[in-house]
Amino acid sequence: MHFGPHLLLAALEGLVTSAVLALTALGLSLVFGVMRVVNVAHGEFFMLGAVLAWAISTAISGHPALGFLAALVIAPLIVGAIALVAERLVLRRLNYNPEATIVATIGMLYIIQQLALSFYGPEARPVEPPFSYRILLPWFGYSGYKLSIIAASALLLTATWLVLTRTKVGLIMRATQYDSETAQAFGIAVGRVYGGVFALGAMLAAIAAVLIVPISQAHYLMGQDPLLLSFIVVIIGGLGSLRGTVVAAVLIGLSDGIISMFFSPTLAKIIATLLVAMVLVFRPQGLFGTASR
């Protein structure tokens, strides 16, 4: 293959990564933006989504699309419910203290990971894609399913954006994010908003995982890379900024796809992590964020 088509392939792979990453990071960013909680267990919600997707799609016989669609609906709901319980039982009792919640979510990370290992096992298991149509480009064939991931992610991101900016629910969330005390004074049940946002954040990660699992496989350690990449995206995009998150996800996904096609993936990760740490040190508001109030 020549350099041009090679680059196109890398860019397509990068876009698929970006699409999944944007959803995952959006969940992390919402939770941080509204609740000021750094959810270290976010990657484990992602993993749970994938593992549940495998469980659901194997439980349902018939056409693979049927099982996949069921997983796409049910898995995020279960993950959201688990997150809600965790939020009620632990985070709320800590009064959302930033340091205590980090320690607590680290605890959740270990608990979820170990339970997944105990009940699901150490194997990586595939989920059949709902359809296997290949789009033939002049240089190579490309999986139609992968392209549909990009479309689905774009759709979901637009929907989230519309909810946040055009509906009453979104208004309440933004009010809580802007100033939770004043919001409470205006009769907003801040505690319930926090519970909802934490569940929503986990559900976004779970949806992203269900989308990616037909091309990557479900494994109990699969939450670690998305967690790190989501951190990177949220930091580059500016903590709590939706537009910045999406832009940063595309940027990171594309560069990750292209760099790891031409260099060693470990080296790509080293460079990316180091760059992001430097961004955080020298430009804490992120590349696209505005200075914090």
């Binding site: 980090i102 320690v103 170990q114 930091i235 470990t266 740490a277």
Partner: protein, 320 residues
Amino acid sequence: MSEASPAKAYALHLGIIALLFVLSFVLPEYYHGLLARIMVLAVFAMGYNMLFGYVGLLSLGHAMFFGAGLYGAGLAIIQLGWGVPAAFIAGIACGAVLSLIIGLLALRTTGVAFMIVTMMFAQVFYLLILYFANWTGGDQGQVVPQPARVLDFGATALDLTNPTVRYMTALALFSFVLLVTLAIVRSRYGRVLVGIRENEERTKMLGYDTFSNKLMAVVVSGTICAASGAAYALLFGYVGSSFASVQYSILPLLWVLLGGAATTIGPLIGTVFMYYVIDVTSGYTSAYLLIVGIALILLVLFFPKGILGTIRQRWLGWLP
């Protein structure tokens, strides 16, 4: 804090050291080896406590300082063929230099950003170990050969693989670091650190340069952790990337939280207790990470001061 009872505090610490010394002759073989390991890891926890307990800086990347000591000492022997003392010093020096660099960068941030930045630097350190696998041994790790772990004094040779020598070396390091920590905590400098933890702005207003005080604390903390890592490599003879992974940044946090942050003996108690819990439960389940997770959550929910912190608050106000 104690004004009137320096003698009491020093007596308590010397008593603990004496107790550990006596235990060496009493304990059965299995616990003897385990306690040696625990003492080395308790040094790691004490280094962590220096920063987290006394300055209030929560780092999620201390595994890189432990790893710097571990690899600094281990690779000096394996790759360069250095002797034990030189390797030990090399490990400590690696940790000191690394903590100075990390401190200069990470201390520009505060709060949550500090935690994430330290975690990311530690991740870079971990990935670098994997990337230079043909030098470091990658995720397989490397064994420090037994003949290289002998301290040669000409007439007498100390074999660090001998259980008694190993125990006593670990105890010596532990005692040294424990007394140094106690001295630091009781000094003027230690009080400035606590002042920074309680109210950094006010400390600054009183004329203290908080940045250089914090930087000093990061270097002291990182160097102690590196000493622990270097000792681990020399005493237990294994150098592996898992010791630099995120998990080994979380464990000292857990030990310190459990024993009691900002207490000098808390790190030891937390480490002992956690190993004891894992040892007891390993009969029922292999899922030790589950216990770590549950312990972390229960601690922040119900016992934020840890064992010794609670004891100090309720009964023994003079505990350092």
